[in-house]
């Protein structure tokens, strides 16, 4: 079965389908939000009607949570060691005996209204890379709805970087194309196709010899990123059925960002590091790389939805009947942590970014629907990914709320009969004790986050330096406000059919960065 040829391959939402397919897809859209709300409301109901069983459930859940924390921290530590090691490896030497001279690196840098300063920093980092600059195809991909800004960026890039790379290609994504959602996906898909027509085909560059890195405009690469990428590309089994995922570290402007933003940013990095150690669960996220041939065969990134970064993996997974993987690079790239002109705006931006990431829940119905339609994918694989996806969505939106908030509910709603039991009196004590034990994991967070911190600016205050350690006590707060709530928000929107559009995270850096 060639899933790519079916009408389901490029589905963005239920309304793209008709008949029973539309109903099934809509039900699948409802499921994540329904499960989350069922859990939350269920705990309220159980606390009221059967507080004893609810208390038992909460204790079991607390134990599960603490074991899960320990279990995941093993992966975090392991990936940190691997990443540190990979950063010290001489990748140039490692690839020296491989044949890679003919491989081009196509770098997609999509932007909308980000300043030239951001673009320049990304390009400077590529210039500072050790990879042969003649093999770079830099794609500056702007939006026609902000053409004036695009022209300014082009002018500046020309001035500063003309002749420094093999190719610099400028792409202006037209505005208002039918069936497209404005955003990164439609922009880079358009730009990649333009590069194919106007550059690769004209110059006779083979598709399999081009590695495409779809970056965010604030992505800053480490000196040997492309050598590391090449090594993984050339040594992995079935490179054309693989995407390559670096570790996104949001530390470009970390010293300028408030503690709240730093904690949320590092939490996202830690989660990606954990996922890198479980590659069979890994989907592409944010900046990632893939061979052009694969990309071309898949039809590039989907243009009618928000989370194109993960969707390209699921597109490929379904199109290859489940035979597609993400190769973890265990090598970092730097990006911006959220930072606005004031604290309140930063807080709002952090929430919105987290909600946009949580909107990755839109991939849930797409994949589950694909599993129903694509009979070629092994059932065991379908079951595994169904569980991984649903458990992931459910965990994100409910677990922190259960742990830090709903755990006390049986005591509050259980009534005096329950409140006279030893269980009622022990529940807060046990929950508190288990959470305190779980908080010991924060030491690991502190240690690893410190290792990813760039050198502090000269004017950095002592308080700021201390705050990067004590910031971690905010975790119980951030995990609910900037983890569970945006997750629940996104899932509820999908459940209600209130689809989200692409929200561009504003990039702001202080002059010191």
């Amino acid at each position: 079965m060639d899933y790519k040829q079916t009408p389901y391959y490029r589905v963005g939402r239920a309304s793209d389908l008709s008949g029973s397919d539309k109903i099934i897809y809509r039900i699948l859209e409802i499921i994540p939000g329904f499960l989350a709300w069922l859990t939350i409301v269920g705990i309220f109901v159980l606390s009221f009607f059967t507080p004893f069983f609810c208390a038992i459930f909460i204790i079991l859940f607390d134990i599960y949570w603490i074991l899960k924390t320990v279990y995941l921290s093993i992966f975090l530590r392991q990936n940190w060691r691997k990443t540190r090691h990979n950063m010290s490896v001489n990748w140039k030497e490692r690839i020296s005996h491989l044949k890679y001279d003919g491989i081009y690196q196509m770098i997609l840098l999509p932007f909308y209204n980000e300043s030239y300063e951001i673009v320049k920093k990304s390009l400077d980092s590529i210039i500072n890379c050790e990879y042969n600059k003649n093999k770079f195809i830099i794609v500056i991909a702007g939006e026609a709805r902000n053409k004036k800004h695009y022209n300014e960026i082009v002018k500046n890039v020309e001035k500063d970087f003309s002749g420094k790379f093999g190719h610099i290609y400028y792409s202006l994504h037209p505005f208002g194309v039918e069936g497209e959602m404005p955003g990164k996906g439609s922009n880079i898909a358009y730009a990649t196709e333009q590069v194919r027509i106007n550059l690769l085909d004209k110059e006779g560059i083979k598709y399999e010899n081009v590695l495409v890195s779809a970056f965010d405009i604030d992505t800053v690469v480490y000196p040997q990123y492309f050598e590391c990428l090449i090594w993984n590309f050339l040594t992995t089994e079935e490179p054309l059925k693989s995407s390559f995922q670096p570790v996104p570290v949001f530390n470009n402007n970390i010293w300028d960002s408030p503690a709240l933003s730093r904690v949320v940013a590092f939490s996202a990095t830690f989660w990606q590091m954990i996922q890198q150690e479980r590659p069979d669960r890994l989907a592409t996220f944010s900046s990632h790389s893939v061979c052009f041939k694969t990309l071309y065969n898949m039809g590039y990134w989907q243009k009618n939805m928000v989370s194109e970064d993960s969707r390209i993996f699921w597109n490929s997974f379904l199109a290859n009947n489940g035979d597609y993987k993400v190769v973890p690079l265990c090598y970092p790239i730097s990006m911006d942590a959220n930072l606005a002109h004031n604290f309140w705006q930063t807080t709002k931006n952090v929430y919105k970014q987290q909600r946009r990431w949580a909107w990755g829940v839109e991939n849930g119905p797409y994949v589950l629907f694909g599993f129903l339609k694509n009979k070629e994918i092994p059932k065991a694989k379908k079951s595994k990914f169904t569980f991984i996806l649903l458990e992931g969505f459910w965990s994100l939106s409910t677990n922190p709320i259960i742990i830090f908030f709903l755990g006390w509910l049986p005591v509050i709603l259980g009534g005096r009969d329950f409140n006279s039991t030893v269980l009622s009196h022990n529940l807060p004590f046990i929950t508190k004790t288990l959470m305190t034990i779980a908080m010991l994991g924060l030491f690991l967070c502190i240690f690893i986050s410190m290792s990813f911190m760039p050198k502090a600016p000269v004017n950095c205050s002592k308080w700021k330096k201390i705050s990067v350690i004590i910031q971690w006590i905010m975790i119980p707060f951030t995990v609910i406000i900037f983890g569970a709530l945006p997750g629940l928000d996104a899932q509820t929107r999908l459940m209600l059919g209130k689809y989200m559009g692409f929200w561009v995270t504003p990039k702001h850096r202080k002059k010191t960065s």
């Binding site: 039991t421 030893v422 009622s424 022990n426």
Partner: protein, 296 residues
């Protein structure tokens, strides 16, 4: 990490979960292991409301001391039976109670401790007043506050002070009878000769703990205490739940409503012929011509 290694890890964590979960649940329920794997169901006592720095004794053995961070103390893993709880704090009356502990249940020890020497503010009958800024003559005039409080002690008084708020406690000269009990929410209080009673007029599910036994079998009517002689006046002690204020011939004291036979009397005032009135949450005691506000 290979998939097999990860699966082994998951299995190990699953086994840990299977082992830990029942142990924690049994502990949470109040079940403890004795002599190997034999399980003994236990109960507990929850000591609440003691002032900071109070030492809690269980069967004369010191258990813990309350602090700013641990105002309440939960005594766990008590075998079913009868226990004596005593709470001591320097400067306060000692509180004690005999408490029955049942399997998997928690008995409450709601501490009510008044200072040994209750603080009072004497309300002077007269105050000094100067005639004006240019005059050096100081005159002695009747204190308006004294006049207002005094009027509370007249049986006919109904409107005396400008009330800053409404009191839930009836301040009027209601002595409380079976047909017209003094009401505090749904709880009625009255006396019959030397006996003081409370009655719950609300639903059984909402009855206060002191009206019920541990299985929440609640009484509608309960004898608070039987005194040696008929009290002059009774009422609820403001600011405390389940504490009755009583004035006798030579004293005013508080008595906690208990769900057992322990009756702890805590003295508030000793004098010749004291009587009290409540107004807007404040307790006033008049003994002869002296009037004092009791600071609780």
């Amino acid at each position: 990490m290979t998939v097999i290694k990860r699966k082994i890890k998951i299995l190990i964590f699953f086994i840990i979960f299977i082992i830990i979960a029942p142990i924690v649940i049994l502990y949470a329920k109040g079940d403890i292991f004795i002599n190997g794997l034999n399980i003994l169901q236990t109960g507990g006592i929850y000591v609440a409301g003691a002032p900071i720095g109070s030492e809690v004794f269980l069967n004369s053995k010191s258990i813990d001391t309350t602090s700013f961070f641990t105002r309440n103390i939960f005594i766990r893993n008590l075998r079913p039976g009868i226990y004596n709880i005593e709470v001591k704090n320097q400067g306060y009356n000692t509180w004690f109670k005999t408490i029955k502990v049942n399997n998997n249940l928690v008995s409450d020890a709601d501490i009510f401790m008044l200072p040994e020497k209750v603080e009072t503010r004497k309300i002077s009958e007269y105050v000094l007043s100067d005639a004006g800024s240019t005059s050096t003559i100081v005159t002695k005039i009747k204190n308006q506050e004294y006049i207002d409080i005094l009027s509370l002690f007249k049986n006919t008084a109904t409107k005396i002070l400008k009330s800053p708020g409404t009191s839930s406690i009836d301040f009027k000269s209601n002595l409380g009878t079976a047909s017209a009990p003094i009401m505090d929410s749904k709880l009625g209080l009255w006396k019959e000769k030397n006996k003081i009673y409370v009655e719950w007029f609300g639903k059984n599910e909402t009855a206060p703990k002191y009206m019920c036994d541990q299985t929440f079998d609640c009484l509608e009517k309960k004898l608070v205490t039987e005194l040696t002689q008929e009290p002059k006046r009774i009422n609820y002690l403001p600011g405390y739940d389940g504490v009755v204020l009583v004035s006798m011939n030579d004293s005013v004291f508080a008595i906690q409503i208990e769900n057992n036979q322990d009756k702890m009397i805590q003295n508030i005032y000793k004098g010749k012929n004291p009587d009290f009135r409540l107004y807007d949450g404040y307790l006033y005691i008049k003994d002869g011509t002296n009037i004092s506000e009791i600071v609780l």
